[in-house]
Symmetry: C2
């Protein structure tokens, strides 16, 4: 468990933010959907299904706030909307995805090799790298089965 509520409360107090019911509900949605990449609309729908309606504008504002506080990580899969996932590690670092071009499925993968790559590139380019985003596009196992072409 990485999201520590009392820690969070303090983070909020420090900055004069309030830990409102809406914010807690939205946080809970991400805790309950660790493996998913939720858009604002997704979050809004999930909350509504729980008969806890929250204004869409509030959802957007909360997602932005959580991103700033590094509780969430904003990701862009090129599908025309921003998606968010809970920031499991304290360092906002390892976000790598295999994106299936057939079914759109997004599969996570662990890396280590990328760290080395980052070091080499930083050295060659005089660029101070603080984060990276890597996406591989292709065909997942399922879709390979379904259409052997």
């Amino acid at each position: 468990m990485n999201v520590d509520l009392s820690n969070l409360r303090q983070k909020f107090r420090e900055r004069d933010y309030k830990l409102t019911p809406q914010r807690q509900i939205i946080l809970q949605v991400f805790i309950n959907n660790r493996d998913k990449h939720l858009s604002a609309e997704d979050v809004h729908n999930i909350v509504r299904q729980q008969s806890n309606d929250i204004g869409l504008a509030t959802v957007y504002r909360t997602l932005e706030l959580f991103s700033e506080l590094e509780i969430l990580q904003k990701i862009n899969f090129g599908d025309g909307r921003s998606r968010y996932e809970i920031n499991e590690t304290s360092s906002p670092h390892h976000h790598h995805h295999l994106i299936c071009l057939t079914c759109g499925r997004v599969i996570e993968f662990a890396d280590d090799l990328l760290e080395d790559l980052e070091t080499i590139i930083a050295k060659n380019s005089n660029f101070t790298i603080v984060d990276h985003q890597v996406k591989f596009y292709g065909y997942c196992q399922e879709c390979q089965k379904h259409c052997e072409d």
Copy 2:
């Protein structure tokens, strides 16, 4: 030189597309701006500066068409608009960028190591990878100079 006009003409003929002046002008914009990552609006502005006005909708439609034909590569830098660059190599493959978090500058870098990484990941995940997109975020040399903090 990678963009071959007569080859292009044939590609168009095959699919009953027409090589209109608008399309030629837009193609030329990308040929003249090989190193840039142009948005639809950028293209529109460049064309207007040449007193060759083209409707913005046509620009969008042309960019989409060229992407399908793999003449252009669509990229997303997370700045709220799609950007395009000319597809230099025949295989739509190596698009890697260093994005400066201070000035927004985008620097290209050559890779090779990524190919190896791709192979390893494909093996581990049973995923057939056909393309990848890698972005490193950090601070470019210039911005490092300006604010040593």
